[in-house]
Symmetry: C2
Subunit: 465 residues, 2 copies
């Protein structure tokens, strides 16, 4: 419990405009894009690293949990204050501190929205590849804390591949700087990547130094329509086998095509078993041959049709279904769980087939959405969480999906993190010594266990799940 005295000290640190305590506010900060909910006792919205340092010191002295939060778009419950305490919203720290075009680097505060950052870079002829589906809302701090991915990961890698350095406030309020401003840096242990993907459990990220790229000068977008789901799956690794690494290689099955069409009316073929959305980019001269190769590979795998967008409008139309699908499925069933398993791409056909079977076995509609090129599958389980029996079936199906992924040399999560919702599965992916080491790192960095307790390891995480 946070005492009135402590609240008053917290208000001294962030000012009255930086402290929320009303029931409506607690409700607002009690959920993210997953099912579990749990309310905090207070929300702090600091403006400076110093305020965060002061707040953490105070929280530590009083044993109060602190849960860092960006835009709350997370898909593993990482920002839910599972043990109550304080939500530390980083959304007022939203300065793009520096864009250094000469050195292809930038420094941003954690509350900068991904799409705003991209928009600031574009006119300077600079490019930051990571593009989570939630990029119009999600923050850079959240992206780094969760090691977020996105469609363009296939060619360009994920958030972790672009983080050169961090400013971090540790659990005791002390501030450290990891890494630096250069791409090459082997000075001591890689403290930077200890914090990337640590989900707010090891420290609070207050500034991020990022590597940028020159933007690709051109791209081509293609839509490949398949009559068989398996043909689409097999096409994925066949394309990479031809020496082409597309920028994106996205897959949607018939259920999702139907949902997207209901929502957008964009003209997708309702009778198709699956579509692949394929984009290649680079120097203009090199694109024609890549498009032809992709078309040939698709033909060999029995594609019905390949559409190549010729205008910006057509590109937008092709992407519309993919971009809106998460919202579109809400019309179909009231609840949705978006899973995030990743398998070696050659196992994609097998994993997709198993997901389809699991849907039948547990009598649940499961849409197949995938960043297929890197084997990152997002089974979209549709149900009604108010129906206990249906919820129980969903949870069983989920457990079987995780087991299948691990059996196929895959992972529990590719880009959404462990958070609250996958914590109980972690011992299936890590052996006891690996779990010990994980707990050891947590204890080293946060001996009082105040930072985002219950996420990944430690704390009271099972409480609300």
């Amino acid at each position: 419990m946070i005492s009135a005295t402590l609240l008053s000290h917290l208000e001294d640190i962030v000012g009255p405009e930086g402290l929320l305590t009303t029931p409506e506010d607690m409700m607002t900060y009690g959920y993210d894009a997953t099912l579990p909910e749990h309310q905090p006792e207070a929300v702090l919205i600091p403006c400076t690293t110093q305020q965060i340092s002061d707040a953490l010191r105070l929280a530590g002295e009083n044993g109060i949990p602190v849960v860092p939060r960006g835009a709350g778009t997370g898909l593993s419950g990482g920002s839910i204050p599972a043990a109550g305490g304080i939500v530390l919203s980083l959304t007022r720290m939203r300065d793009i501190v520096e864009i250094d075009a000469q050195n292809l680097t930038a420094r941003v505060q954690p509350g900068v929205v991904n799409a705003d950052f991209q928009a600031a870079l574009a006119p300077l002829g600079l490019f930051y590849p990571p593009d989570p589906a939630s990029m119009k809302a999600c923050t850079m701090g959240g992206n780094v804390a969760m090691s977020a991915g996105g469609p363009r990961c296939l060619k360009y890698g994920g958030t972790k591949d672009y983080v050169l350095g961090l400013e971090v406030v540790l659990a005791d309020g002390e501030v450290i700087h990891t890494g630096g401003r250069t791409v090459k840096n082997t000075t001591g242990y890689d403290l930077t990547h200890l914090f990337v993907g640590s989900e707010g459990t090891l420290g609070v990220i207050t500034e991020i130094t990022l590597r940028l790229l020159p933007p690709p000068e051109a791209k081509r977008t293609m839509l490949a329509i398949f009559d068989e789901l398996d043909d689409a799956s097999r096409t994925v690794s066949a394309i990479v086998g031809e020496g082409i690494l597309p920028t994106t290689l996205e897959m949607m099955d018939n259920l999702l095509i139907q949902c997207a069409e209901d929502f957008t009316g964009a003209g997708l073929p309702r009778d198709a078993a699956a579509i692949l959305l394929i984009e290649v980019d680079g120097f203009e001269e090199a694109l024609g041959r890549q498009v032809s190769t992709v078309e040939q590979v698709c033909a060999k795998q029995g594609v019905r049709e390949v559409r190549v967008a010729t205008t910006a409008q057509e590109v937008d139309d092709l992407w519309l279904a993919r971009r809106t699908i998460i919202g579109a499925v809400a019309r179909y069933r009231p609840s949705m769980v978006l899973q995030d398993v990743t398998v070696p791409p050659s196992q994609l056909p097998e994993m997709v087939a198993r997901v389809v079977d699991i849907g039948k076995e547990y009598d649940l509609p499961i849409g197949v959405l995938a960043h297929a090129g890197d084997g990152n599958l997002h089974p979209l389980i549709l149900f009604d969480q108010r129906d206990e029996e249906e919820l129980a079936r969903e949870q069983k199906a989920e457990a079987v999906i995780f087991a299948a992924s691990l059996e196929l040399n895959g992972t529990l999560t590719g880009e959404h993190g462990i958070g609250l919702t996958k914590r109980k599965y972690l011992p299936q992916a890590l052996n006891p010594r690996e779990m010990d080491l994980t707990q050891g790192l947590k204890t080293l960095l946060d001996p009082r266990g105040i930072l985002n307790p219950g996420k990944i390891v430690g704390g009271n995480g099972d409480q609300p799940a």
Copy 2:
């Protein structure tokens, strides 16, 4: 001291062919590519992970240091047994366990030589970019332990960007597996990158899972000759500013051109102030325009001449000087220290100018060798270590070079690691809390301090330096 009983137990683990104890052998394993030397008491050459596990358990119980070693080509003293004990040579663990062309991954044992791995990949149409200058000798385990770089880092990133997972024997002999086989993986903390670049101080790497790429189908190699060193430096960031990320962008100054010509007679211009060796790669169609752009940028910066290789032989000739320079300078002076500072590329002209001044101030020939595109400068200090006064000047010059790099937002090391030789400078790069955290990680993973003591932090590292 290793007792006869302990030696006999070690021999039981690795067999008689896996244990060396003669004075000649101890001398052989007592140095690397740096100046310090210190002999071990025994050398173990295990064949299996189990043998390493058994040996570490035994060493831990007896408090004996264990220093993992690949080919001993390191440039920071990382494999020198500074506190005596056991050198653990991984050179007999040299299986390429698996090359998975469909999933663009491979698994290798630590003793596989980088060039042998590249040679095994090429006929399968696969590509592993990291190419340390010592690639014909250095091992993949050493590359991962030191987070090695190379010329191609500029476009493709370094070793750390290709490691997907590791098998590691911890100090207590327990075996863990980090990461996995997929590019996307956010399962718990990033244990993989805790070990990448940890220089054998946190665990012994026994298997490495690597990401591969489709190879670029073509490349163009250019040699740009400059009459002014500063013009060459400024050309570097100007090229990147044009939206081109060359595969390599290497720089050599007049001193090194002279040394290389004495050695190779390859036809470099002895009167040039500097040369840039520039390579672009990718799809054939896209190369011509990149070459023209590079030529135009060079012209704008006052280049004397740009030579474009038109045959494979010409490409080899252009690279000959760069590849042989480290050996070539041995004809000039008996001792050589190759430093490894990295600055933001825009600071390269300033850093190069300072290195030239430092050479004058301390009256030492310093060659300027640089992976210039990413700001990674290798000042090559030439002297005679047998001359104490000269050695003292070298050490002063070195300290001033490090200070200059840090002042220009650069690093102590870009790709050679801290090891033994840069350990005393580490507190200049890390604040006290960052040093504490570094020591905390070391203590968590190696509480008895047996793993490569004296490297990065902890142990008796100052002994022989």
